[in-house]
Amino acid sequence: MTREEVVAKMIEYAAIAFEKDASTITEDTNIAEELGVKSFQRVTMSSSIENEFDVMIPVARFGNFKTIGDLADYVMDEM
């Protein structure tokens, strides 16, 4: 899977988890500032990633990923 495809998946999952319009999310979107910090939303996003990529994202580490692109890079590294 290419990085673009992983980013697209991240945007799709973020839109569901944070209840946002996917067209407003890009790889530069700041997760905490523009999407939210609620733990249930992070759990929802982490679960989607784990289901699709078999990559576990510890919720305690979720806050370390500033942007959607950062999250995609981590998933690419762990795949």
Binding site: K38, F40, V43, S47, S48, N51, M56
Partner: protein, 335 residues
């Protein structure tokens, strides 16, 4: 009869299946055994079944009191996964579940979600964060609620409130800085919790340093907005405010400060703090100066009941929290 005695009696009428993913722990196994032997619950020990049986025998327990679930039993695990993934609203698919169910905490919660347990009881080995995370991932949140939270039940010697010495308070443990929507969810969930556990008709006060506009500012605005949301979402519940603590629980003060009709002012039996700074301090004040016994925290907001007990809890406290969780689950199952 104390409030806890009443809750124990209630539990006996309809014993619930309680899953213990930390059953190897000596205090946890003792609490599970004693509440099971006395008929308050049906204890299900989840883990390496052979090891758990060996420990139970060494500790002198009658094995027939327990049900054992072996997390190495792949056939049963796969059956649970099959049920789980077909339930609406569940988050994890088969492969992540197989990985996570190596941890008894996740195994127990999948059992619960699949209907083979009514409660998951943990917290003696796992951190609160572990339990909350597993709960949010596997059990999920109750529809319409914006946050996980908790309430406690304080039994305060000398207090003569609308429920005698008892007062329900929340959130003093989980949700740090709720926004208005979350604060409304805490109040709504608290009302349901006390109704299920104690058969109270909840009268819930949203606490602030202001009573009905006696003060101004963003801290008060948050509480007012939360009240608006709570009343809109659940008009059937008596939730009112914003009230100072004395206006909420002292009829004479309420008569002076609340110049409109209120089902809550002066006779609140549930107090909702505006944030965890207040909540945590308040419960410690009640304990230190009011010499209260505090039961809980009772987690609320999940699709079904899970309990996170204190890691330093003595067996007597663990037993109390097991039985409280079981009674809450029985009420939710009936609803």
């Amino acid at each position: 009869m104390s409030v806890l005695d009443r809750i124990y009696e209630k539990a006996k009428l309809n014993p619930q299946k309680v899953a213990f993913p930390e059953a190897a722990n000596e205090k946890m196994m003792q609490a599970a055994y004693e509440t099971g032997k006395d008929g308050y619950i049906i204890p299900i020990l989840v883990g390496d079944a052979e090891e758990l049986k060996k420990l139970a025998v060494e500790r002198g327990y009658d094995l027939s009191v327990f049900q054992f679930v072996d997390i190495n039993d792949e056939a049963y695990r796969d059956k649970l996964i099959d049920i789980y993934v077909n339930l609406p609203g569940t988050m994890l698919k088969q492969k992540p579940l197989i990985r996570r169910m190596k941890d008894p905490l996740y195994y127990a919660m999948v059992m619960q979600r699949a209907g083979d347990a009514d409660v998951t009881f943990a917290g003696i080995d796992n951190t609160t964060g572990d339990v909350l995370l597993a709960g949010q991932t596997v059990i999920g949140m109750k529809e319409g609620l914006a946050t996980i939270s908790s309430i406690g039940l304080a039994d305060i010697p000398g207090y003569a409130g609308s429920e005698g010495t008892l007062l329900a308070i929340g959130d003093s443990a989980v949700c740090t800085n709720p926004d208005p929507e979350q604060l409304a969810s805490i109040a709504i969930a608290a009302c349901d919790t006390v109704r299920n556990l104690l058969d109270w008709e909840p009268r819930c006060a949203m606490i602030s340093y202001s009573t009905l506009g006696s003060g101004e500012g963003e801290l008060i605005d948050k509480v007012k907005e939360a009240l608006r949301i709570a009343n809109e979402q659940r008009p059937d519940l008596a939730i009112d405010g914003e009230f100072q603590l004395d206006a909420a629980i002292v009829p004479e003060v309420a008569a002076k400060k609340v110049k409109r009709e209120s089902k809550v002012a002066g006779k609140a039996n549930v107090l909702i703090w505006p944030d965890l700074n207040v909540g945590n301090t308040a419960v410690k004040l009640i304990q230190q100066f009011g010499h209260a016994d505090a039961y809980g925290p009772m987690l609320q907001g999940f699709n079904s009941i899970i309990c996170d007990c204190s890691r330093g809890a003595p067996v007597s406290e663990i037993k109390g929290n097991i039985v409280i969780s079981a009674v809450r689950a029985a009420a939710e199952n009936k609803a």
